[in-house]
């Protein structure tokens, strides 16, 4: 057998509680098959309410104009694009977990990948709303698609980073959706096989695409997973790189900087993992999945957070250094006069605190393994990352080249805030539906690691571990 079967006893088990295959199925399918809980209903209704508020906010903006927001002649993008970048960034953790960690054969990904991928899809859906609805004439949004048309020689402008965004985001969404769904098929088949109600049989029957679990199916499934992982991996890096090009290729001091692509990608993974933490900590508690999403999962993700947080911190300091060293007075002014100080100075320091200073506490193992603290930090990090985008967008625009154009103080209108809240509504509505009707943990993949990283397996290995090498070798030979 392959070496993969063996895992050091030093590593903590990835599935606690001596699970059998059947128990795994029961644990994960149970909540799907049971009636929704009261808590689920409360959460769902709040989400739908938020979503409706978002719909009203967009309605106001579309019918009466972008002037319903408080953007202005100097600050053309504010909360809208801040939210866009924020949501896209959040999505990145899901892809990283599902694709890169798959390629790197990180077994711990199985506990969180399903939910993280779902989060990616929902986050990208939310993100997509902002560049669409922020348009002055959203009904003409289809102009951004390059397709043969009857509008004469008009064609899209391939020079525009905003057009690259269109391709980047749509590709990202498509690949993520395929990846997520192809992973779901075996589990949907499990649900289908267990289903007792007629509609459930029909629904899972259709959605599982006739999965029988044959070896050929499994083989193709594995191949597809690898192919999609291969496709997704560059996307983890490229999508946010392209988003960062929106800013990096411009002439605006504070935007025009080459550090943005890595800085944005690190930030995206940073905020994405924080969001995964937020969701997972709630999900494992509510759905009794503590055995599958263990403290060690949480610790692993906290390690990613402290790493990416530190990268982001380095990026912030590099920006400041370059602003000083670059001897461009416009850039110098933006960073040293109007970003770390000035009317929006508070947002810079909030960003610094949330993204750079507080995540350093995760160097302490005790805190990495503390659920309450992790939850708090995950929220703090996402606040910080939201402000990072706000700082980049607003504090660069509000005082650019000509002092005559420097802006009045920008604060969002109720409809701008409403749109943002609405995106939360969309996200959580989707997430609640997902957690109710789909297995939030990849059953098949958990089963895959159960025999090497499950607690029962590890316990069974204990006697072997205690053997001396000679004894083990002898025994192994004896088996042959």
């Amino acid at each position: 057998m392959s070496l993969l079967k063996y895992e050091s006893q030093v590593r903590e088990p990835l599935v606690d509680g001596n699970k059998t295959y059947h128990q795994v199925t029961e644990d994960i399918c149970g909540p799907v098959e049971a009636a929704p809980s009261r808590l689920w209903w409360i959460g769902f209704i709040i989400s739908v309410a938020l979503l409706l508020f978002g719909v009203v906010s967009i309605y106001k903006e579309v019918v009466y104009g972008t002037g319903m927001w408080n953007l202005n002649k100097t600050i053309g993008w504010g909360w809208d694009i801040t939210n866009f970048v924020w949501w896209v960034g959040i999505g990145h953790a899901g892809t990283l977990i599902s694709a890169i960690l798959l390629l790197f054969r990180q077994g711990w990904r199985t506990g969180v990948n399903r939910a993280a991928e779902a989060m990616t899809i929902f986050a990208v859906m939310c993100a997509g709303q902002f560049p669409v609805w922020h348009m002055g004439r959203v009904w003409m949004a289809f102009f951004v698609f390059p397709y043969p048309n009857t509008r004469g020689p008009l064609w899209v402008n391939f020079n525009s980073p905003l057009l690259w965004d269109v391709f980047a985001i749509s590709t990202y969404f498509t690949v993520s959706l395929l990846f997520w769904y192809s992973g779901l098929i075996p589990d949907l088949a499990t649900l289908r096989d267990r289903a007792k109600k007629k509609w459930a049989k029909a629904f899972y029957g259709v959605t599982s695409f006739g999965w029988t679990g044959s070896t050929k199916h499994w083989q193709r499934h594995e191949s597809l997973s690898l192919v999609l992982a291969g496709l997704s991996t560059p996307l983890v890096l490229s999508v946010h790189t392209i988003v960062s090009f929106d800013f990096a290729t411009s002439v605006i001091p504070g935007w025009h900087t080459t550090i943005f692509p890595p800085y944005f990608v690190a930030g995206a993974i940073f905020s994405g993992f924080a969001m995964v933490q937020t969701l997972m900590l709630v999900t494992r508690k509510v759905m009794n999945l503590e055995d599958y999403i263990t403290i060690s999962h949480i610790e692993n993700m906290n390690k990613v957070i402290v790493l990416t947080g530190s990268i982001v911190g380095c990026a912030y300091l590099t920006e400041l250094f370059m602003a000083w060293y670059g001897a461009s007075k416009y850039e110098y002014d933006i960073f040293f006069k109007y970003r770390i100080a000035g009317p929006y100075g508070w947002s810079y320091w909030l960003m610094m605190t949330c993204n750079v200073i507080t995540p350093q506490l995760f160097w302490v193992k005790k805190l990495r393994r503390n659920i309450a603290f992790t939850f708090l930090m995950s929220v703090v990090v996402n606040i910080g990352m939201w402000f990072e985008r706000f700082v980049i967008i607003v504090s660069s625009l509000y005082r650019d080249y000509l002092p005559s154009s420097w802006s009045v103080y920008y604060r969002p209108s109720i409809w701008e805030v409403g749109f943002y809240l609405g995106s939360f509504g969309l996200f959580f509505t989707c997430y609640f539906l997902f957690s109710k009707y789909f297995p939030v943990i990849a059953i098949a993949e958990i089963k895959h690691i159960l025999k090497k990283s499950g607690e029962s397996f590890k316990e069974a290995m204990d006697p072997l571990e205690e053997q001396s090498v000679d004894e083990f070798v002898h025994q192994a030979h004896a088996h042959h």
Partner: protein, 1046 residues
């Protein structure tokens, strides 16, 4: 074949009848043709008939309801109207006493744009108010038919004849009481003749001229010292040294349209031999003129006498002047006096005060300098303002005493502008017959018994004698829109003249005078009659009044506490045109605020009141409210902190706080402070002492278009220096640019070497603009002209405060130097039409792109409104249509709800009225909501010019094209043309005339703008701009260090 028979039934076998019958009718079916099927009332066939008929009927009826919009061509096409081609008529802008000869651009019967008449004495110059006046023609608040009082309001008078009859009766019944014509300054010779006829009929007739803002002090002083009650022509172009004591002669004082042009002549720099006039400004407030001065000194309003007397003493007047405590001010007076004397008569002192004593001293100084006949021309007395304050006071006294039987109000609006409105109104109510000829139901008209609205000037015949020998004519450019009637026609009717109306009278008057119809037609066509050679004459100064004036000025009581300056805003002036949305939305040159008046205070005064001009103050449109008390009068106004205001002096503009009936634009804008105007027994005083100023806890939103006023070390934006430095080193600006670009190809190869991308040839036409910061005085005529030409939307106060203004062209105002005595630079900023435009490559749908002629073009119907281009514009000149300003939206009727919710102001409804929309230029698309727009270099004019040249089969030349801003500019600061044409003015400016001062804003970022600026040079010994802060110098040092580091 066998005969064996096969059968299926017994019937068939036996061949029964029943069988045969059944076989015959095998497929028969009972059809329900019975007429009484199942008792239904409407049988099936009838039902179908009814259905068919009613459907057809409904279809017909419905189709008849569709509104049909008819577009009917002329049955007989008028000879001189070609649809789509504009006609230009020479006429004259007349507002109160202001006279500006203009050309009205009439398109398909509608005047849509006003241009200056270049053959007139204003040489084609216009002002913001001239530019905006075409919008007032379509003012929705104009009175549309004769009104007579009915209860508290007015009712429509059936006909003018009926009203004439009633008024004639009332006039006859006046008896011995006075019949008073209360008007603003009238300068029409023919109307004066009509008035004289009227006077002949009614011996008790009296004419009182009342100007909202009085120049009585000058008029009377000239009476005292020269024996001529009036205002002479000033020749700023002849003056090498100009000293202005609070006179805003470029913005509001007497005739800025002429003075701006003259002044610019002295400010234009010949680079080979740089000489400039030297302009000293002593003032308390901060005027636009002060902002243009080389040396500016501030003093308290009450110190004016002392300043004048000192100046008089220093130029050689025999007078003992009081000492001046402020050292800087005293030195300034010394310096000004020295320069004045040295100029040998080519000097001019003007003063904005309305105090006759002050003006007597000013006259004495000018006489002492020998300015008469050189810079002051008594050969052409101007007729812009004629009001004498004491006459008005006498009239009010008479009226209160009941001695006035009838008042005819024309042009004047004393209920609004008089210092004691209540006293006037009370007296007015005692008058038996009151008639107003004003165009709107203004504050005074509201109290009249009749309103017989006069025509707008664009609908009128007429004439105006701007100054002796200079007559300008008015001819109608459109049939009167409403049932209005010329003021003089009314007088003719009431005086029982044989002439039926003013038109006939006017034509006869001038045909007679000019000696024939041909001459008259010629005069109308030219629009002006002027003397062949200007008459320049001095006058003998009579010094007898000086001693008394000195005595009075020396006694001027020093006031305690704050002092108040009441001024006119460059945009709104005395408030007559307050309902003009273009003017309301035109930002003030100094404060950059619009839609309101406010209290201007200095940085120090603000600090003493507990406010700091910090970031928080700057970025918040909500400004603290001050409570200002003079005597028993109080007004609460927002505070604007303006560097360079004199400490303890506050300045407030008149012209605001109009009544609601004046119109939706004027409604709610600012507060009326005419009531604070003082009276010293002889003249109205626009400065007031003993003012109490208190801070309040309240705030008030002021619509400001520019929050930050200093350019700091950003010398790539604004370049300025003093004339000494420029003389010493004419290459100072060139070297600065070289320093910045030397590693990237220098000035010549920067385009190619500053980029990694290929460079394209630019053959054919390449449009370019040059703006001279030396001659631009910040007046804003171009801003309004741009709005008029390009259908730029008015967004209203709330939206301006949200920084949503739409101006394609703005005039940035930068302070530099110290906060107490800053220098000011005005910089017109518009789309720079960059050859390497950052806006173009970021648009995802290529809605903005570059033309082969160097224009950065905007394709509105391709724009989806991502605003990325606006973000990426380093000049921030792109404007987004945040709301449906123009009613051009895909969603109908979505203005009213947001007007009702207070998001938009009612002015949006005014601007979208069918009447107001007649002003729109049909050559320019009205932009819908959600798209970006910006300056197009008036592309519609460029196309027209190219076509004209093509039709004439000749190359296009400079004179074919003028952008709207260029044409409106009174100082010719803007030069525009084809840079590739070696003969073009723009080419000459950039390569010869202005080569040493030409620079491009933010040149170093390699966007390659097509608009160049000419650096500002000040005639001073001081270090100007931010050089003392190290702006220019240190930036070089930094560069060197940076280069060394690399």
């Amino acid at each position: 074949m066998s005969n064996k028979k096969y059968w299926q039934t017994f019937g068939e076998l036996n061949n029964t009848n029943a069988y045969n019958e059944a076989a015959e009718n095998e497929f028969r079916e009972e059809l329900p043709f019975e007429m009484n099927d199942n008792g239904a009332k409407t049988p099936r066939r009838d039902f179908l008939k009814y259905l068919g008929f009613s459907t057809a009927a409904a279809t017909l009826a419905a189709s008849c309801e569709i509104p049909v919009k008819k577009s009917i061509p002329f049955l007989n096409k008028p000879a001189d109207i070609v649809p789509g081609v504009s006609n230009y008529y020479a006429t004259t802008f007349v507002l109160d006493g202001d006279v500006v000869p203009v050309l009205a651009k009439v398109r398909d019967g509608r005047p849509i744009k006003i241009e200056g008449n270049e053959s007139g004495f204003t040489k084609g110059a216009t002002t913001q108010r001239v530019q905006a006046s075409v919008l007032s023609l379509y003012d929705t608040a104009r009175v549309r038919h004769p009104l007579e009082k009915s209860g508290d309001g007015f009712k429509e008078a059936p006909t003018y004849e009926a009203v004439d009859k009633k008024i004639a009766e009332a006039l006859a019944a006046v008896g011995g009481k006075q019949i008073v014509l209360l008007s603003s300054t009238l300068n029409s010779p023919s109307v004066q003749a009509v008035i004289d006829e009227f006077k002949a009929k009614y011996p008790s007739f009296k004419q009182v001229t009342y100007d909202a803002v009085s120049y009585s002090g000058i008029i009377e002083a000239n009476g005292l010292t020269y024996g001529t009650k009036g205002i002479p022509s000033y020749q700023f172009d002849q003056a090498k040294v100009i000293v202005s004591l609070g006179a805003d002669f470029l913005g509001t004082w007497i005739s800025p349209v002429e003075y701006a042009k003259q002044y610019a002549a002295g400010r234009k720099i010949n680079e080979k031999n740089p000489e400039m006039s030297h302009h000293f400004q002593f003032e308390s407030s901060f005027s636009m003129t002060g902002a243009n001065a080389d040396e500016r000194y501030t003093h308290k309003p009450s110190e004016l006498g002392a300043v004048l007397l000192n100046l008089y003493a220093k130029v050689g007047g025999s007078v003992t002047a009081p000492s001046i405590a402020d050292k800087r001010l005293a030195e300034g007076i010394d310096k000004a006096a020295k320069e004045l004397v040295a100029a040998g008569g080519n000097a001019l002192v003007v003063c904005g005060s309305n105090d006759v004593n002050a003006q007597v001293i000013v006259n004495a100084i000018n006489a002492q300098l020998g300015a008469n006949g050189k810079t002051i021309n008594f050969g052409a007395m101007v007729n812009y303002r004629k009001g004498v304050d004491t006459e008005m006071e006498q009239f009010v006294t008479d009226m209160s005493a009941g001695a006035v039987g009838a008042v005819l109000v024309y042009g004047a609006n004393p209920v609004y502008t008089y210092r004691d409105s209540k006293k006037f109104a009370d007296g007015f109510k005692k008058v038996a017959l009151t008639v107003s000829f004003n165009e709107t139901e203004d504050e005074t008209s509201e109290l009249c018994q009749y309103i017989l609205p006069a025509h707008h000037y664009l609908e009128s015949w007429g004439d105006a004698e701007a100054k002796t020998g200079y007559t300008s004519f008015l001819q109608p450019t459109i049939h009167p829109l409403f049932k209005t009637r010329a003021f003089a026609t009314s007088l003719l009717k009431w005086s029982g003249s044989a002439v039926a109306d003013y038109e006939t009278y006017f034509k006869a008057y001038w045909t007679n005078k000019l000696g024939g119809t041909a001459a008259f037609d010629k005069a109308l066509e030219d629009g002006v009659i002027e003397p062949a050679a200007p008459v320049v004459a001095g006058a003998t100064f009579n010094s007898s009044a000086v001693a008394a004036a000195v005595g009075k000025l020396s006694q001027t009581a020093t006031s305690t506490g704050h002092e108040l300056v009441i001024y006119q805003k460059v945009s709104i002036g005395d408030g007559k045109m307050a309902n003009n949305p273009w003017l309301q939305e035109m930002p003030d040159p100094i404060t950059r605020a619009c839609w309101d008046n406010y209290a201007m205070v200095s940085v120090k005064t603000a600090e003493s009141l507990g406010f700091k001009a910090d970031d928080a103050y700057e970025v918040e449109p909500k400004k603290p409210v001050l409570k200002i008390t003079v005597g028993n009068q109080t007004v609460e106004l927002p505070m604007m902190i303006i560097p360079g205001m004199n400490s303890n002096t506050i300045a407030i503009a008149v012209g605001y706080g109009r009544s609601e009936k004046v119109g939706l634009a004027a409604k709610g804008a600012g507060k009326n402070i005419y009531s604070f105007v003082g009276f010293n027994g002889q003249n109205y005083q626009y400065t007031v002492g003993n003012v109490k100023v208190e801070a309040t806890a309240e705030t008030f939103t002021v619509a400001v278009m520019q929050t930050h006023g200093q350019y700091g070390n950003r010398v790539e934006v604004v370049k300025e220096t003093s004339i000494n430095i420029f003389k010493k080193d004419p290459k100072v600006f060139i070297n600065e640019r070289l320093n910045e670009l030397k590693d990237y190809g220098g000035l010549d190869n920067f385009e190619a070497e500053g980029t990694i991308y290929p460079v394209y040839d630019k053959p054919g036409i390449k449009w370019g603009m040059s703006i001279d910061l030396n001659t631009c005085n910040g007046c804003g005529a171009c801003v309004v002209a741009c709005s008029a030409e390009n259908n730029v939307a008015v967004v209203g106060k709330n939206q301006v405060a949200k920084y949503h203004d739409m101006h394609w062209l703005r005039i940035d105002r930068y302070f530099s130097g110290d906060m107490e005595n800053p220098d000011v630079v005005f910089q017109p900023m518009l789309c720079q039409h960059c050859d390497n435009a950052p806006c173009e490559n970021v648009c995802p749908v290529a809605a903005t792109n570059h033309s082969s002629e160097g224009l950065n073009q905007m394709t509105y119907n391709r724009c989806i409104g991502t605003r990325y281009c606006a973000n990426n514009c380093p000049y921030k000149v792109r404007r987004f249509n945040w709301h449906d300003w123009n009613g051009a939206d895909s969603f109908g009727d979505n203005q009213v709800p947001i007007v009702e919710s207070g998001r938009l102001n009612e002015v949006t409804l005014q601007m979208n009225d069918e009447l107001t929309r007649m002003v729109l230029n049909p050559d320019v698309t009205v932009r819908s909501r959600g798209v970006i727009e910006k300056c197009s270099f008036c592309v519609q004019r460029l196309q027209e010019a190219k076509l004209t040249a093509k039709k004439d089969s000749r190359p296009m030349v400079d004179s074919d094209i003028k952008t709207a801003c260029q044409q409106a500019c009174p100082t010719n600061a803007i030069v525009f043309g084809n840079v590739n044409d070696k003969e073009s003015a723009i080419r000459k400016v950039r390569t010869e005339e202005g080569v040493n001062r030409t620079y491009y804003v933010l040149e170093q970022i390699h966007v390659l703008p097509n608009v160049s600026y000419m650096a500002k040079v000040r005639n001073t010994d001081r270090v100007v701009g931010n050089e003392e802060e190290g702006g220019h110098e240190i930036s070089h040092e930094e560069k060197k260090e940076a280069e060394a580091a690399h």
